[in-house]
C-alpha cells in the first residue's frame, strides 16, 4: 500500500477568487506581448513601475506575516498571481522574491524582521541555490560557509540566480561544517564583479552566475541546522508550486495563440482548425491544461490546509511533472501549428516554448520528480 494517501482536496476562497480576477486583469493589461518583447530586450528585464504597482497591491508581501508587514495570505494565494503572470508571460522579480521570502520565513525572528518588512514594501529578493553541475538536490550545495568569530566566509559559485542584479537581498545556500546552511547577503555586501549575466533560453528571465570568494556575512545573517533544512524545503515547495502555476498560465496562453491561428489561417481551402491533425492535438493541450491547473490548485489547497510535508511533496511533484510536460508539449505544438509563421521571431509561439523549457528545467523536470514520486508512492 502506498505511504501517502492521495486526497482530492480543493479549496478556493472568495478572497482567492477576487485575487485571481484582479491579477488576471492586471497582467492582461500590463503585459501584452508587445511589452514582453520590449522587456526581453531591456537590460533589467522588467518594468519597475509595474513592479511598484504589484508591491502596492500587496502581492510582494502576500506570504509575509502581518507582523512583518505582509498580508499573510500564504502560498495558496500566491498561485493566483503566478498563474496569470505566466499566462501573459509577464517578467517581474516577483517569483525570485517569493522564493526569498519562503526561505527567510524559516529563519529566526531577528533575521525575518531584518528582511521581510523591507520586502513587503518593495525590496527585491532572490535565492542562489543551484550550482554549475545543475544538480536539483537543494541540500547538495557545495558552496562553503566557513565560520570565524561572528562572521562566516562564503566561497563558491552559484548559477541561475534570478534577478540578482536587481535584488536587495540574496539568500545563498551552501555547506557549513558538512550540513546545509544559508546566508542572507545584502546588495551592498556583494563584491564588485561577483555577478555574471547568463543567457537563458527564456529571454524574459534575468539570470546570473554568482562567484563568491570569501565574502563575509555576519552570523546573524545565517540560517543553519533544522532551520536551514526547513528553509530549503519551503523554497522548493514554493518553487514547484509557483513555477507549475506559471506553467499552467503558459499552457493557457499557448493554447489561446493556437486556437486563434487555427480559426484564422486557411490551407487547401479550409480553416486549418478543421483538420483533425491539428484539432485533436490541440484538445490534448487543453486536457494537459485542465489537469495541470487541477494539480496546481490542489497542491495549493494542501499547503493551505497544513497537510503533512509528505502529502504536500507528492502533490507538488505531481504538479511540476504534469506542468512541465504539458507546457513543453503545448509550446512545441504551438510552433509547429503556426507553420512558417511559427518559425519566425514575430510569432509568439516561440515565447511559450522558451518559457516552457525554462520552467521544465528549473527545480527538476518530469523524469526527476517521477523518480521521487515512485519512491513515495510505490
Amino acid at each position: 500500500m502506498t505511504a501517502v494517501k492521495l486526497k482530492a482536496t480543493m479549496t478556493f476562497s472568495e478572497e482567492q477568487s477576487m485575487l485571481l480576477d484582479t491579477a488576471t486583469e492586471f497582467f492582461r493589461s500590463k503585459s501584452p506581448t508587445s511589452v514582453v518583447r520590449d522587456l526581453m530586450l531591456s537590460e533589467d528585464g522588467y518594468d519597475d513601475a509595474v513592479w511598484r504597482e504589484m508591491v502596492d497591491l500587496g502581492w510582494s508581501g502576500l506570504a509575509i506575516p502581518e507582523a512583518c508587514g505582509g498580508s499573510d495570505l500564504g502560498l495558496a494565494a500566491a498561485v493566483t498571481i503566478a498563474e496569470p503572470m505566466g499566462r501573459w508571460l509577464s517578467a517581474t522579480p516577483w517569483l525570485s522574491t517569493q522564493l526569498f521570502v519562503q526561505g527567510v520565513l524559516a529563519a529566526d525572528d531577528a533575521l525575518r524582521s531584518a528582511c521581510l518588512p523591507a520586502v513587503a514594501e518593495g525590496a527585491i529578493g532572490t535565492v542562489a541555490l543551484c550550482e554549475v553541475d545543475g544538480d536539483w538536490d537543494l541540500e547538495a550545495a557545495g558552496l562553503t560557509l566557513r565560520e570565524t568569530g561572528s562572521q562566516a566566509a562564503l566561497s563558491g559559485t552559484k548559477t541561475f540566480v534570478l534577478n540578482a542584479d536587481a535584488a536587495d537581498f540574496l539568500l545563498i545556500s551552501g555547506n557549513l561544517e558538512g550540513a546545509p546552511a544559508l546566508a542572507v547577503l545584502d546588495r551592498e555586501s556583494l563584491p564588485a564583479g561577483a555577478l555574471h549575466r547568463e543567457t537563458l533560453i527564456d529571454d524574459t528571465r534575468r539570470s546570473f552566475e554568482l562567484i563568491l570568494d570569501g565574502v563575509q556575512v555576519p552570523d546573524d545573517r545565517l540560517i543553519r541546522g533544522e532551520r536551514a533544512l526547513t528553509a530549503l524545503s519551503r523554497i522548493r515547495n514554493a518553487a514547484l508550486l509557483l513555477i507549475s502555476a506559471e506553467s499552467a498560465g503558459g499552457i493557457a496562453g499557448a493554447l489561446e495563440v493556437i486556437v486563434e491561428y487555427l480559426n484564422t489561417r486557411t490551407a487547401f481551402g479550409r480553416k486549418i482548425g478543421s483538420y483533425q491533425g491539428l484539432k485533436h492535438p490541440t484538445v490534448d493541450i487543453l486536457i494537459g491544461l485542465e489537469r495541470t491547473r487541477s494539480h496546481v490548485y490542489h497542491a495549493a489547497s494542501l499547503i493551505e490546509a497544513g497537510e503533512s510535508e509528505e502529502a504536500i511533496d507528492v502533490a507538488l511533484r505531481m504538479a511540476k511533472a504534469q506542468a512541465s510536460e504539458a507546457f513543453a508539449f503545448a509550446g512545441d505544438r504551438a510552433i509547429q501549428f503556426h507553420g512558417g509563421f511559427g518559425f519566425t521571431w514575430e510569432c509568439d509561439a516561440q515565447l511559450y516554448l522558451k518559457r516552457a523549457l525554462w520552467a521544465q528545467y528549473a527545480f527538476g523536470d518530469a523524469i526527476h520528480h517521477r523518480r521521487h514520486l515512485a519512491e513515495a508512492l510505490l
Binding site: T2, L6, A8, T9, M10, F12, Q16, S17, L20, A252, L255, V259, L262, N263, R270, K271, G273, S274, Q276, K279, H280, T282, V283, L286, I287, E290, R291, T292, R293, S294, H295, Y297, H298, M318, A321, Q322, I367, R370, R371, L373, A374, L377, L378
Partner: protein, 397 residues
C-alpha cells in the same frame, strides 16, 4: 460534516455486511458486458437489495420511489461502493440516463410509470441510438417510426444495445419525418416497450468471444402513441440531453456503480505481486516511471472533478472538464489496462480460462473490453472533435 461522516460509516458497514458472495463465474466488468443470465440475475438481485436498503435514487423524489434526500448522500454511497469495490448495479441506462431525463422533462404520467421500475430493477432499460450504418453519427438514424392511428409502427434496426436481452424499455431515436427541413428535425424520441411483436433482439458476440451487446430489429413493431417523448421532431434535442446525462455533463443520476472501478491502485497492487524478468514488476525503473505517469494522470482527472465544483476555477471554459471527461477517462483506462498486461511479462499472454492467468484473465479481458468505452457513446476521435469544436471553438471538420 460529522453527520455525513456518520452516514458514510453506516453505508460502509452496510455494504460490507451485505455485499453478495463472490460468484463461481467471472462477473462482467461493466453494465455493457452482461452476457449471461446468471451474471444478469446476480447483478439485478444486488441492485434490488441496494435499492431496498435506500441507497439508490436517494436524491430522486419520494413520489416516484426515490429517497428525497440531498445529492451529497448519494455521492457518499457511490464513493463507498467504489472504495469497497462492491458489484455494480446493472440498470445503468435507466438509473443514470433515461431516469434523470424523464425526471427532467418527462410528464407526470411518464414519471409515475417508469421511475419506480428503474430503481427496483424491475424494468431494465436499454438505449437505441446507434445504427449499423451510423456509429457515432446519430443524426443519420434511419429507423423509421410512422404514425398509424394512435400508434407508431417501427421499422429498422439499432445496434450496440447493452442489456437488450433483458430490457423492458428502450430509449429510442427514430426518424418520423424523412422530408424534414434538415436531418435533425426529422427525428423523434420514444420510450419504447421491448415486449411487443416485431421486436427481435439478437446477441452480438464481442471481440473477447463473450456476449454483452445486442442488435435490435424492428419489423412493423407497433407501440402506443404515448411512447413518444416530448413532441414529434424533438428527438435530436432530447437525445443530446440524454447524452449530457450519459457523459455526466449534467447531474441527477440515481447513482450506484455502473462498472467495476479499476484504477491505478489496482494496477500497483498487481505490479507488486507479479514478476517480470524474474523480479517483482514494481522494481523495474521503467515500470515505476510508467506507473507514476498513470498515477499523475488519474489523480489529475480526479482533481479536475474536484475543481469543477469551484466556478471561479473553471470560469474561462466552464464545459472543458465535463465535456472532456469521457475522452480523458476512457483513454486513460484503455492505456492503463494495456499496461497491466505488460506488468505480467511472459504471463501477459494468458487469457480468460487459463489456470495461471492473473485473476482469471481479468486484465486481458478488461483491456479488450476497454474499447467499448473508447468506441461506444461516440468514439474518442468524435469526442476530441466535440471538445475541440464546442469547448475551444475550433471549426468543424
Amino acid at each position: 460534516m460529522s453527520e455525513l461522516d456518520d452516514f458514510r460509516a453506516e453505508v460502509a458497514a452496510w455494504l460490507e455486511a451485505n455485499r453478495p458472495p463472490e460468484p463461481d463465474f467471472l462477473l462482467p466488468e461493466t453494465f455493457m458486458e452482461v452476457g449471461t443470465d446468471r451474471q444478469f440475475e446476480y447483478l439485478r438481485d444486488w441492485q434490488r437489495k441496494v435499492y431496498e436498503a435506500g441507497y439508490l435514487g436517494m436524491a430522486w423524489p419520494k413520489a416516484y420511489g426515490g429517497g428525497g434526500q440531498p445529492q451529497v448522500m448519494q455521492d457518499i454511497v457511490n464513493a463507498e461502493m467504489a472504495r469497497l469495490k462492491v458489484p455494480f448495479v446493472p440498470n445503468t441506462i435507466g438509473l443514470n440516463w433515461a431516469g434523470p431525463l424523464i425526471l427532467a422533462i418527462g410528464t407526470e404520467a411518464e414519471k409515475q410509470k417508469y421511475i419506480p421500475g428503474i430503481l427496483s430493477a424491475e424494468d431494465i432499460w436499454c438505449q437505441g441510438f446507434s445504427e449499423p450504418d451510423n456509429g457515432s453519427d446519430l443524426a443519420a438514424a434511419t429507423t423509421r417510426a410512422v404514425r398509424d392511428g394512435d400508434d407508431w409502427i417501427l421499422n429498422g434496426s439499432k445496434i450496440w444495445t447493452s442489456l437488450g436481452t433483458y430490457a423492458k424499455y428502450m430509449i429510442l431515436l427514430a426518424r418520423t419525418n424523412p422530408d424534414a427541413e434538415n436531418r435533425y428535425a426529422g427525428l423523434s424520441y420514444f420510450l419504447a416497450p421491448m415486449d411487443v411483436p416485431g421486436v427481435d433482439v439478437q446477441p452480438i458476440r464481442k471481440l473477447t468471444g463473450e456476449y454483452g451487446f445486442t442488435q435490435t430489429f424492428f419489423t412493423d413493431a407497433r407501440i402506443p402513441g404515448d411512447c413518444l417523448m416530448g413532441r414529434e421532431g424533438e428527438g435530436w434535442q432530447i437525445a443530446m440531453q440524454t447524452l449530457t446525462f450519459e457523459r455526466s455533463v449534467a447531474g441527477g443520476q440515481a447513482g450506484g456503480l455502473s462498472m467495476n472501478a479499476v484504477g491505478v491502485q489496482d494496477v500497483l497492487e498487481l505490479a507488486r505481486r507479479v514478476k517480470r524478468d524474474g523480479r517483482p514488476a514494481i522494481e523495474d525503473p521503467i515500470i515505476r516511471d510508467e506507473l507514476v505517469k498513470f498515477l499523475i494522470e488519474e489523480q489529475g482527472d480526479r482533481l479536475c472533478g474536484a475543481r469543477a465544483r469551484h466556478p471561479a476555477l473553471i470560469s474561462e471554459r466552464p464545459g472543458a472538464i465535463a465535456m472532456s471527461g469521457k475522452l480523458r477517462g476512457t483513454e486513460h483506462k484503455r492505456r492503463l489496462l494495456q499496461f497491466a498486461i505488460t506488468l505480467q511479462g511472459a504471463n501477459g499472454a494468458r487469457w480468460v480460462g487459463d489456470e495461471r492467468a492473473e485473476r482469471g484473465g481479468l486484465w486481458q479481458r478488461s483491456y479488450f473490453n476497454a474499447f467499448s468505452a473508447t468506441i461506444g457513446g461516440g468514439t474518442s476521435q468524435v469526442q476530441a472533435n466535440i471538445v475541440g469544436e464546442r469547448v475551444l471553438g475550433l471549426p468543424k471538420d
